[in-house]
């Protein structure tokens, strides 16, 4: 029996070795090509663009967890709803003849609508469903939000089917509303990057700065930081903690909605019902790697995951013929981080009784 088991475990190793280039020389060549300034520059720009998407997806999740200790499994579905809601606004407002600036304005309107709509939904969810179970073990909050995901996904599927779209394929009309100049590539000092990537970076930086200013410069941000430390003490000081919880939950889901609109314009993601599960997993990876509940950790982790992802994508496209390489390495980052630093990069152990 033990011989059979050890023979079994030998199989994957052998096959992976044969999938990698057999000659070290070839590997050195690839490494040399990878380290060329223009390649490296492009990989870094793409990594930053992906990091921006990741930080957008994960920011709301980390805010909610940091304050309330609730790991929101419905976060991905809320991003998906945001993508559809924003996509609807874009499809309605953008005509064939709309110019580039007009399309960007429509995008702004879509982000505002998705943020507002999802924030309202998030607030309602918090008051109606999450609030009654704050005093239960953390497991029940995971279960509840997991159930909410099932309901939201199926509702989205019903509505999308009702209007004659395919829920599992990307809503192409939304991709068509993207201004032409975002698809062009721009070359600076030998490094070419697509307009969409720069747009993502811009959007991501704006979100990070916005959330940072909210946390450090506003009165509510002060409550959030104080509530993360000790919410009982905060309520003893006369702050209506329940309202702070609701506002932060609404803000978190609103950011998820805005992220959805950004993804609806990206051909690599696009608005579809499976987008919920597709964004939930990277969001978890980013939030856990950074350390649950620290916004700084989330930003750093998003940068790490984004850069790792784009690096691995390059290696997969040029050297290693294993399609799943980038995705697999992203999950490996999660596993390795948790083995080496069990609370994540900047995590503290006591958040939310976890």
């Amino acid at each position: 029996m033990s011989a059979a088991v050890s023979a079994l475990s030998a199989v994957p190793v052998l096959s992976v070795l044969s999938a990698l280039p057999a000659l070290p020389l070839q590997f050195a060549d690839a490494l040399f090509e990878f380290l060329a300034p223009s390649t490296l520059g492009e990989v870094i720009v793409r990594g930053l663009a992906e990091a921006s998407l990741y930080v957008m997806i994960a920011a709301g999740l980390t805010l909610v967890f940091g304050l309330m200790g609730v790991l929101n499994f419905a976060h991905g579905s809320l991003t998906m709803l945001g993508a559809y809601l924003g996509g609807l606004v874009l499809v309605i407002t953008v005509a064939q003849s709309t110019g580039g600036v007009g399309r960007l304005l429509a995008f702004g309107a879509a982000v505002v609508v998705a943020f507002g709509g999802l924030a309202a939904l998030g607030g309602a969810l918090e008051v109606g469903l999450v609030r009654p179970i704050y005093d239960r073990p953390p497991l029940y909050q995971i279960l509840l939000t997991f159930g909410v995901t099932l309901v939201l996904d199926e509702l989205a599927r019903i509505v999308v089917l009702f209007y004659g779209l395919q829920p599992t394929t990307v809503w192409q009309d939304v991709l068509g509303t993207k201004p032409a100049f975002l698809a062009d590539s721009i070359g600076v000092a030998g490094v070419s990057a697509s307009g969409l990537e720069l747009f993502h970076v811009l959007f991501g930086v704006a979100t990070v700065v916005g959330v940072h200013l909210f946390l450090t410069r506003t009165r509510y941000g002060l409550f959030v930081r104080a509530g993360s430390e000790d919410s009982e003490m905060l309520s003893a000081l006369g702050v209506d903690v329940n309202r702070v919880f609701t506002v932060v939950f609404a803000l978190g889901t609103g950011i998820a909605g805005a992220a959805g609109v950004l993804l609806a314009w990206d051909p690599a993601w696009g608005a579809s019902v499976p987008l919920g599960a597709e964004t939930l997993l990277p969001a978890f990876v980013v939030v856990i790697v950074g350390g649950l509940g620290t916004f700084r950790g989330t930003v750093v982790a998003a940068l790490i995951v984004g850069l790792v992802d784009s690096t691995m994508t390059w290696w997969f496209q040029n050297v290693v013929s294993f399609t799943g390489l980038p995705e697999m390495v992203v999950f490996l980052v999660l596993v390795i981080t948790l083995i080496v630093k069990p609370q994540g990069l900047y995590g503290v152990s006591e958040v939310g009784g976890h």
């Binding site: 088991v5 309901v151 294993f322 999950f331 948790l338």
Partner: protein, 384 residues
């Protein structure tokens, strides 16, 4: 089936094919409940063990594994699938149990997703790994029974299974019914084994860990070793469940083997049935499968749609509800194929209002396990 209500029963009760699925998936959900419900550690990557068992059987039957060919007896494969999954659980668990709470759930999720992506894109498993593996090298069905005694083995599977005619003079069973009893026997043995573990001092220690781990450690239990052993046992039974799955369905895809939502389904049925009650997941899965089939799209055999077509007049079905939407169209849009919506709503209601699930609540009401409480009540009732 000739009673006055037979149409209602056909519509409401699941088909035998569904019930076979209920059996092996319930075994997987039980193994999930064994670790998560009893120790309180949410094993969100439990699909890894189910997938391992399933892929092991499929690959062995396709002659892809060394030392195991299509001729390997299925009973041996069941054990090997369990052992492989248990070995994986040992590896994952020894790292993961250094963490607790949500971090534990996330690291197990991470491991299972790494395996999912790996299996999905590894062209060793089949020519199109994204579509999974189908058993192609072995034409006859997998056999369950007493090893070595040919007469005491039956083949399982919808098309490849044995049928029984005239056993003891009056028992006649279709291949699917034979599969139901054969798989049911394996599931029963596994259930009894887990039941034995749960009611042993070992199982009591697991409950102590769930209720207060610090205290359990303080009285001298090596909680890490207990949790790890429970995880390995749980992985073993999850692997067996995966092996039964391929034994019956003869194919597996990354999505229904390794994907994290497979563990999500196990979580769902465990909660509905009763978290921390070993038999609960079976009732939860029965309930879930029943609702899904009642609202299934094709409505083959039973379900709401054929029942409505047969028993409600055309005039009613064609009635306008709103803006040209007829009753028939409305059931088609909002009910058929959308069972996930209603199961999800029920799940949320269960988490909010019935956190102990069906079986847990029944036990609380009756004051003890049903096998003890029901006879006690009956006796009291008869004694008046």
């Amino acid at each position: 089936m000739n009673s006055g209500l037979s149409a209602e029963f056909t519509a409401l009760l699941p088909r035998i094919e569904t019930l076979v699925v209920v059996l092996f998936f319930a075994l997987f959900a039980m193994s999930f409940d064994f670790i998560s419900g009893y120790t309180g550690y949410l094993s969100f990557g439990h699909a890894a063990f189910y997938g391992t068992g399933a892929y092991l059987v499929a690959l062995a039957a396709n002659d892809k594994l060394p030392l195991l060919g299509p001729e390997t007896p299925f009973m041996l494969l069941l054990v090997l699938a369990g052992v492989a999954a248990a070995a994986l659980a040992l590896a994952i668990g020894s790292v993961s149990f250094r963490l607790s709470g949500v971090y534990f759930a996330m690291i197990t999720l991470g491991f299972s997703q790494v395996l999912y992506v790996f299996v999905r894109d590894w062209d060793f498993v089949s020519t199109a790994p994204r579509d999974g593996v189908a058993v192609t090298e072995k034409l006859e069905g997998f056999q369950i029974g007493v090893p070595g005694v040919d007469a005491l083995n039956v083949a399982i599977g919808q098309l490849t299974g044995d049928s029984v005619e005239g056993l003891l003079g009056f028992i006649t069973l279709s291949p699917t019914e034979v599969s139901f009893y054969a798989i049911g026997a394996v599931v029963l043995v596994c259930y009894l084994a887990m039941q034995r573990l749960v009611h042993s001092p070992f199982g009591r220690t697991l409950i102590a860990i769930r209720e207060n781990e610090e205290r359990a450690r303080a009285i001298g239990y090596n909680t890490y070793a207990y949790k790890l052993r429970a995880f390995v046992a749980s992985g073993f039974f999850a692997g067996v469940a995966g092996a039964l799955f391929v034994g019956f369905r003869r194919s597996v895809t990354p999505e229904n083997g390794f994907y994290f939502l497979v563990a999500g389904d196990a979580l769902l049925v465990s909660i509905i049935g009763g978290f921390g009650t070993l038999a609960g997941p079976l009732y939860g899965e029965l309930f879930d499968a029943g609702v899904r089939e009642f609202l299934s799209k094709e409505g083959g055999g039973g379900g709401l749609l054929p029942y409505l077509r047969a028993n409600v007049g055309d005039a009613t079905l064609a009635t306008d509800i709103y803006n040209g939407l007829t009753v028939a169209e409305a059931t088609d849009t909002f009910l058929n194929g959308h069972a996930a919506l209603y199961v999800g709503l029920l799940f949320v209601l269960f988490v909010l209002y019935v956190p102990n699930g069906l079986l847990g609540t029944a036990r609380d009401r009756m004051g003890g396990t049903l096998s003890k409480a029901v006879p006690r009540r009956l006796r009291r009732w008869f004694d008046g």
